[in-house]
């Protein structure tokens, strides 16, 4: 079995090595400034990754802010409350959502979500929360918010499915014990959630991973403009999108190197975010003092 484990390890090492090696030209030329540069101008050979890092992280955050409560709600309903007759078809539908190709989500984003944000949600947000810089500026339906919302929809089934499995393995005795002690249904659910905390955190990390790397659907609605704007209605750009759109055609060696370094940056962002999430999981697990479920 060792051979399997080493294969994975070697692949990761080889990937990092190849990416570092091939991005040497930009690493040499821009150094650490590559990460903080705000300009991305291939025509003038100026490369800065900051707008892309910003776009990737913020759109993923929007996705999680929407998807996590939604997924938790669905999973709790399915496991703790719904009768089996209702739970099975709903669980099936949620899992079906995970199987839809991302380009279909993208099309749905252009045809349905973007007009919805432009005509209703955006107008509502501007009317009531327009004083926040987040919701100022022109409202086109193409931008960071649309990208984040599409991602939310895509990660919801993943988080839901994992959380559901996690809740299901919490021993029934715990629920029975809580109920026997006179806890209400909601109090019982809270105890179950506490026991499943580390598993739930793991589900969120998994969803985050999917959001960070999502390409096609986001490209179709986020506007692909390398800028950092306070407004969520303005176009943004993600690392995965810029790679997908330009990798095939990058002829110039410095440009190619910059794109590969972007891949490296995405790798690092995922690594850091995952590490951070793992730490969080460990702390939460320690706090509740329960066995790990996943």
């Amino acid at each position: 079995m060792l051979i399997f484990a080493t294969t994975i390890l070697l692949t990761v090492v080889a990937m990092i090595f190849m990416m570092v090696w091939n991005s040497m030209p930009t690493i040499k030329q821009f150094g650490i400034g590559f990460l903080f540069g705000r300009d991305w101008q291939p025509a003038s050979d100026i490369y800065g990754a900051l707008p892309f890092i910003y776009g990737t992280i913020v759109s993923s955050l929007i996705a999680l802010i929407i998807a996590v409560p939604l997924s938790l709600g669905i999973a709790i309903f399915l496991v703790e409350q719904a009768p089996k007759k209702v739970a099975t078809p709903i669980a099936f539908l949620v899992e079906l959502l995970a199987a839809i190709p991302s380009v279909v989500y993208g099309l749905w984003g252009i045809f349905v979500l973007a007009p919805f944000i432009r005509n209703y949600l955006g107008v509502f947000l501007q009317d009531y929360f327009g004083w926040l810089p987040l919701f100022q500026g022109r409202l086109t339906g193409i931008g960071m918010l649309t990208g984040g919302m599409i991602m939310a929809l895509m990660v919801t089934p993943i988080i839901t499915a994992v959380v559901r499995d996690v809740l299901e393995v919490v021993p029934t005795q715990q629920r029975e014990a809580a109920l026997a002690l006179g806890a209400t249904k909601w109090e019982t659910t809270k105890i179950v959630l506490g026991n499943a905390a580390s598993g739930i955190a793991g589900a969120v990390v998994l969803g985050l991973g999917r959001a960070l790397g999502e390409t096609m659907a986001v490209t179709m609605v986020i506007g692909n403009s390398p800028q950092i704007s306070a407004s969520l209605f303005e176009p943004a750009y993600t690392i995965a999108s810029v790679l997908a759109a330009n990798f095939a055609e990058a002829t110039d060696s410095l440009y190619l190197s910059a794109l590969i370094e972007m891949g490296l940056v995405l790798f690092l962002v995922t690594f850091v975010v995952n590490g951070f999430a793992k730490l969080l999981v460990a702390r939460v697990a320690k706090g509740t003092g329960t066995a790990k479920v996943t």
Partner: protein, 372 residues
């Protein structure tokens, strides 16, 4: 488990071997693989998405006449076409944007530019309640992309559109976020006509768009989709995409001062108006050409081939296909909204095709061609 591991190892090694063999073989020059057991010849091409519809039609029609020849055209963009022909991983590349000198030098042999058809880049937009085609000047288009004109009812737009009622809405210009021959043609035109555009954005396959002005979309169909679905947008696409989606196209003010539509005749006029500027190697940009009816955002699209073909059999097949494409193939152009090459250019292309050789011998003899 041990046997399992052995099988796994064996599979990996076999795959390695196969891949290694596949990669080490020279796809163009290697004598093996030219023809398979049934005598079929296969040609690989890749590049511009702009001429994809006509190339697919040609490949289809040509295979009906020559069932032994298989041609695959992969539409991956002009930059990709140039990259692939330099790397010799295709038999022909395709590009709307003529190759730059420094890229030509990267290639191991002399690359010929063979123009095949002419196309137009059109301005398309999504404006509710506007039925008549808009009149646009290059100055107005440039100002929109520079962010100087922000609203549709700006007096500068209204000035050329007397009776059209323009909405009081913000303009969202859409551009390509990938490296694109269509962008090269579009920006070349604006850089030629508007100094401010040349200075701030410049002419390139992927120029420095002004931050905070527009939104990017991948490929012609991406721009098309964005314009079609988002009110108050404007974008530039290859004409066939706008026609297929029944989107409006603007009339553009040409060098002679007339507002013209991108009809096939008007695009042909751009070629006619620029023949005197055509250099020996045929690398030419024909935006903003002379002529009363000339559509100004027009362009040749090229097939890129090596002058010295390494494989005589494939070279001959390629040369015959090119010859057929610019002669018999031209009849299919108009239905797909491309303009066929003018007669003078076809003559120049013939000379180029005669100059293609393998092992020092021309692949198409003049006398023989005349007899056909």
């Amino acid at each position: 488990m041990r046997t399992f591991a052995k099988i796994f190892l064996a599979t990996i090694l076999t795959l390695n071997l196969i891949l290694g063999l596949a990669c080490s073989g020279d796809p163009i020059g290697g004598g093996d693989g030219t023809t398979d057991s049934s005598g079929n010849i296969s040609l690989q091409g890749a590049g511009a998405s702009f001429p994809k519809p006509i190339y697919e039609k040609w490949v289809n029609e040509y295979q009906k006449i020559n069932p032994k020849i298989r041609i695959d055209y992969q539409s991956k963009g002009s930059g990709g076409g140039q990259k692939d022909i330099i790397a010799e991983i295709v038999n022909f590349g395709a590009s709307d944007d003529p190759m730059k000198d420094e890229d030509m030098e990267k290639a191991k042999g002399e690359i010929l530019h063979i123009p095949t058809v002419l196309g137009a880049v059109v301005m398309t937009y999504n404006l509710e309640g506007v039925d008549k085609p808009l009149n646009l000047t290059p100055e107005v288009i440039a100002a929109i992309y520079l962010g100087d004109i922000k609203k549709w009812n700006d007096p500068k737009i209204a000035a050329d559109n007397g009776d059209v009622k323009l909405p009081d809405a913000e303009i969202l210009p859409i551009y390509r976020n990938d490296s694109s021959g269509t962008t090269a043609v579009f920006t070349d035109y604006l850089a030629k006509t508007v100094p401010a555009f040349k200075e701030k954005i410049g002419a390139s396959k992927q120029p420095n768009w002004v931050k905070g002005v527009g939104a990017g979309a991948p490929r012609n169909d991406g721009v098309m989709g964005q314009v079609k679905q988002t009110p108050n947008t404007i974008g530039y696409v290859e004409i066939a995409f706008a026609k297929a989606n029944k989107l409006p196209t603007a009339l553009i003010k040409n060098k002679a001062g007339n507002f013209v539509d991108a009809t096939i005749d008007n695009v042909s006029a751009a070629a006619a108006g620029s023949i005197k500027d055509m250099p020996e190697d045929m690398r030419v940009k024909i935006t903003n050409a002379e002529g009363d009816n000339t559509y100004p955002i027009s362009s040749y699209t090229y097939i890129l081939v090596y002058k010295q073909q390494k494989d005589a059999v494939k070279g001959k097949a390629l040369v015959d296909f090119l010859w057929w494409a610019v002669h018999d193939g031209s009849q299919y152009a108009k239905a797909l909204h491309y303009a066929p090459l003018p007669k003078e250019v076809v003559e120049k292309v013939e000379a180029k095709i005669y100059s293609i050789t393998a092992d020092g011998k021309p692949l198409r003899e003049k006398a023989k061609a005349a007899g056909e």
